[in-house]
Every structure is written in C-alpha cells, then in structure tokens.
C-alpha cells in the first residue's frame, strides 16, 4: 500500500458553519420530535436570540466565496412522503380486482392541492438522471437503472420544481424484461417511487397509494357481487385519493419549511 496524494478534491456541497450562519437561520430547522416539547423550542429560541447557536470562527481564504456559491447551487432532494402501501397485483393469486388511480385522476388531486399553496404544476419540465429505475412486474427484485431524461407530470417554472406521479402504468412501462415470467403481475409503485426519489433533484415523487384489501364488503349473490365490487371500487378510490392528497400536503408543508414557498 502506498501514500497517494489527492491531486484535487471537489468543494463539498454543504456549507461550513460560518457559511451556514451567514445565510440561514437555525431556528428554521426544528426536528419533528422537538416540536412536541415546548421547552426545547424555548431553549432553541433563547440560544438563537443570544447568538449562542452560531459559530463565531471567522472564515478567510480564497476558497470561501467559491464554497458559498457551491452551496447555493445545491439542488433540493425531496424526500418521499409515505401514505399508502403502494402495491397492487393481478393474476391467479389476486382475489380482488385491482384498483389504481390513473395519471389523470392523480393530476387533478395533485394540481388542485398544490394551487392551494400557490404552487402551479401546469408547466412542462424534464429531469435528467443517471439512475432512473427499471422495474419488474413479475416479482424479480430489480435495482437496475439507466441514464436518461424523464418528462415530468407537472412543473412549476417559477419555483423550478416539478413532480412525477408513479402510477401502475409507469411501473408497467418501465418494466425491464428478465428470463423470469409469472402469471401474477405485481406493481410496486411505492418501491419504484423510493428509487426514483433518490435519483432526481428538485422533483417531488408521489405514488399510487394502492389498495386496502381488507375492506371488501360481503356479498350473497351474483348481482350482489357486482354491487359489492362497485362499492369496493368507490371506497378504495376515495381512500386512495385521500392518501395521495396527504402525500402532496406533506410535500408542500416540507417545501414551506425549506423557505421555497
């Protein structure tokens, strides 16, 4: 093993303490677990007001400005907001007809909710990534990715932030063939959304919340079966819409917390 000099090393895209306190307020970042405890908030406020939170070491050197610039250019990595199991399947093992929220149904919920927060997702945008996910609907664990451009489902050109809704159709369209096939098709919208979230910047990823198999009403005849299925469908859609809306609200609240809106 040899000693090896590092010839060049990129400036990290997170700020030094001095840079942070020049541009941000620490009080904006309140861990969820602290919010429930008023005393913690009070201590945070007191220490912030009295300047105890800040780093007081002066910065100097020719790289200081360059580093600040590098940090300001940092893109937003939006977390995934989880509401709903996000799975569905169709085939010999599936005992109930699957219910999915289509792209159009989802767009209506997402755009309406976003408008209430002043976010306009009516624009068009794309995002480039080296790690867009392939999927597999035959139960093969798939972590293959590809480099490409994703056309987003909505984009706010003022904020520079878009969204992508991972529907059952997306999971099906992004399927990568393997040698394995099955009579059961399983659609993992949530898992796909998690992988996509890690691959893109400035993009909120929502997903089809999927079904809740436990709510099928009882039926007693063939006619009754149709009624039960219709009722089941309606109830599922209602719940799925609420789960999706909860994902969007969480995202918008998070965005507000970042000071973006």
């Amino acid at each position: 093993m040899q000693i090896e000099k590092v010839r060049s090393y990129p400036t990290p895209r997170y700020p030094t303490a001095v840079q942070f306190h020049e541009t941000e307020k620490i009080t904006r970042y309140m861990p969820r677990r602290w919010r429930a405890k008023r005393l913690v908030g009070q201590v945070l406020l007191i220490t912030a007001v009295t300047g105890l939170c800040s780093c007081t070491v002066p910065t100097s050197g020719e790289n200081a400005g360059k580093q600040t610039e590098a940090v300001r250019k940092t893109d937003l990595s939006v977390p995934l907001f989880v509401h709903g199991e996000g799975r569905g399947s169709f085939g010999c093992d599936s005992v109930l007809p699957p219910v999915y929220l289509s792209e159009d149904e989802a767009a209506q919920v997402i755009r309406e909710t976003a408008r209430e927060y002043g976010v306009d997702f009516s624009g068009k945008g794309t995002v480039e990534s080296r790690k867009l996910p392939y999927t597999n609907v035959y139960g093969v664990e798939m972590d293959d990715t590809y480099k490409g451009t994703l056309t987003l489902d909505g984009y706010d050109s003022v904020l520079g932030i878009g969204y992508e809704y991972v529907s059952q159709k997306d999971v099906s369209d992004w399927h990568k063939d393997t040698n394995i096939m099955s009579t059961v098709e399983t659609f993992d919208m949530k898992g796909t959304a998690e992988r996509l979230t890690n691959a893109v910047k400035n993009t909120a990823v929502f997903y089809d919340p999927g079904m809740d198999y436990s709510t099928m009403p009882e039926w007693h005849s063939e006619d009754d079966w149709e009624r039960a299925v219709d009722e089941y469908h309606a109830r599922q859609k209602e719940r799925m819409t609420e789960d999706l809306r909860a994902q969007v609200v969480d995202f918008l609240e998070w965005l507000r917390g970042q000071g973006v809106i």
Binding site: K5, V6, P12, Y14, R32, V43, L52, C53
Partner: protein
Amino acid sequence: MHYTLHLTDRCNLACRYCYVKKGSRDMTAETAKRVVDLASDGGHHGIVFFGGEPLLCREVIEETVAYGEAKQKRGEGFFHYKITTNGTLLDAAFLEYACRHEIFIALSHDGLAQDRCRVDPAGNGTAKRLEPVVKMLLAEKPYTPVMMTVTPETLTLYADSVKYLYGLGFRYIICSMDHSADWREEHLPMLKRQYRALASFYREKSKKEEKFYLSPFEVKMASHIRQHDLKTERCELGKKQLSIAPDGRIYPCVQLIGEEYCIGDVTNGINEAKRQALYQLNEQEKEECLDCAVRDRCNHHCACVNKCATGSIASLSPFQCAHERILLPIADSLAERLYSERNALFMQKQYNDMFPLLSLTEDRTI
C-alpha cells in the same frame, strides 16, 4: 488537559489486538494522587482511568476521586472523571458509585466481532457476559459511548457490528481501525463497501430523526463544517493529553508508552524541552502530504496511528492514507444528501453549537 492514568498493566482479558505490554505493575494511590496534584492549577481537567483493565484497581480509583473532590472543594481545580473499561468487571455497585461521583463510563465492545477479538485468557468470547452489563449500564447512563476496534479479520462485520451495537441501545459509537494490523490493498474494496453500508444506515437513522453519533462520519463532516476548529483540535502531542504509566512516568499519548517518549514523571514534573521537541517533530508537515488536496481534513497528524503502523511518529501510515481517501468522499456525499434534504436533525447537530444542550433538554422533558 486530560490525564490518562494507566492504573495497571494487568487485564482479565486477552484481546487479540491489544497493544498494552502485559505485566503486573499497578499504580499506587500515591502516584495517582500526584497526578491530581499536577492537574491542580485551578483549571478544568479530565482524569481518565485506563489500563489494562482499570476496574481491577477500584480502590485506587475511589481514593483518587475522593482526593480530587477534596481539592475541588478547596478551589484548587475542577476535575471530571472518565473510565474506559472492557465491562466484564462492571457491577451494580461500581455503576452506582460512578453515577454518584459523575464518572463517565466508556465501554469497549467490538459488536459482532466481540467473541472473535475480545476474549479471556482461555480464548473464550465475552459477548454473552456483557449482555446484562450493557443493559444495566445503558439503563443508568444512556449516553455511554461504545468503542469498537476494526481489524482486517473483522472488516466484513464492520457495518453489521455498528448496527448490532445500535440495536443494543448505544447511540454514541466510536470506531477505530487497528492500525498495527496487517492491512493490505485487497482489504480496501471491502472497507469502501462497509462505509457505504454505514452511510445508508446513518442516513436512515437521520431521516427518522433518531439520535446517532458515528465517529468516522462525524469527524469527517466536522473537518469541513468546522474547518478552523478542527485544525486546532487535531493531535497536539503532549499538549492536550498526558499518559501516566503505573510507575508514574509521563508520556504524551496512551499508545506512546516507552522509553524514547518519556517526558517526565509525577515527582519531578514534565520535561518541557522534551515535550516541545516531540510536539515539533509531530507538527512538521510530512513531505508526502505537502500538496495533498485533503491535507487539512486528514488525520495524518495522529502520532499514535503513525507509530502503530510504521514504528515511528514521523512516518506516515499508508493504510491511514488509503482509509482517509475512502472515507472522506462517502462522508461528504452523506452530508450533502442530508443537507440538500434539509434534514432538521442533521442541521441542528452539525450547525448548532447548542445541540448537546437542546438534545439533553429534549431527553429530560416529558
């Protein structure tokens, strides 16, 4: 200043990588008290009980603490106490004593590699014996740090061991490489894999806002976030820490106990010229590092690491160099990610000097 008292050469274990020369020397209470005298300049100082296994010398610990407390009452100094133990002799009585006298306990535990590395003289593993000790210790002292050593033989268990220790309830995990081991080029890909796995684990915990201190990442993140502070906090041989052997001789570091590094004794005090000479030798920038881009973020100044790996504090450890080149980009990538996600716990932990106070307030508030 921290004064580390090697209370004894003896140990009830025979850890495979231990660097302490086993013997039968014990420090007398008088010698330990002379150390407290040395530290009695009215300032704040740490008294660290170390070994061998320091719990083989409980009476000396108790006498030393009583002596220090009496001095503190007279305004001759402020002392805080710490003990580093293998845990096998830690019982409820000592724990109660440690709580009463505010003695900070650090436990050595190698996680899943415990039975492989930390064995008794007959070669028996000690993991099982430690289970009730860990429970008892964390119930009383939930902030107890655990210190884990990684060897080439246990490298594949590195990430899983950290997860295991986290599962036991430890939230402050200090990881050290065994720098005296035979590290080879073929170990490096595995080291990278382990750090990547640890980065995922760290991120997962951060996203859930679960408190977690993992020393390799914290140190590297801090080397960017607190650049200036870190430069002044690096190894300053013999200036921030002194080690005192059982016979009362003073050395600049726990791993540099040996004739050539002796810088004084508890009776005659410190030989300043010798201490300064060692400090200057260690401060000289190594030629190989002169124009390295990560020189200021690297731990190449650590005298004991260089000594362990090369036999000399003036020579660089090639493994340390490789380790830093692997760890740094992984730690930076992790921090970039948490920053871009505006992870609130990460922000508070890294950018708020008052985080320990806030964290304690949270823990103490119902």
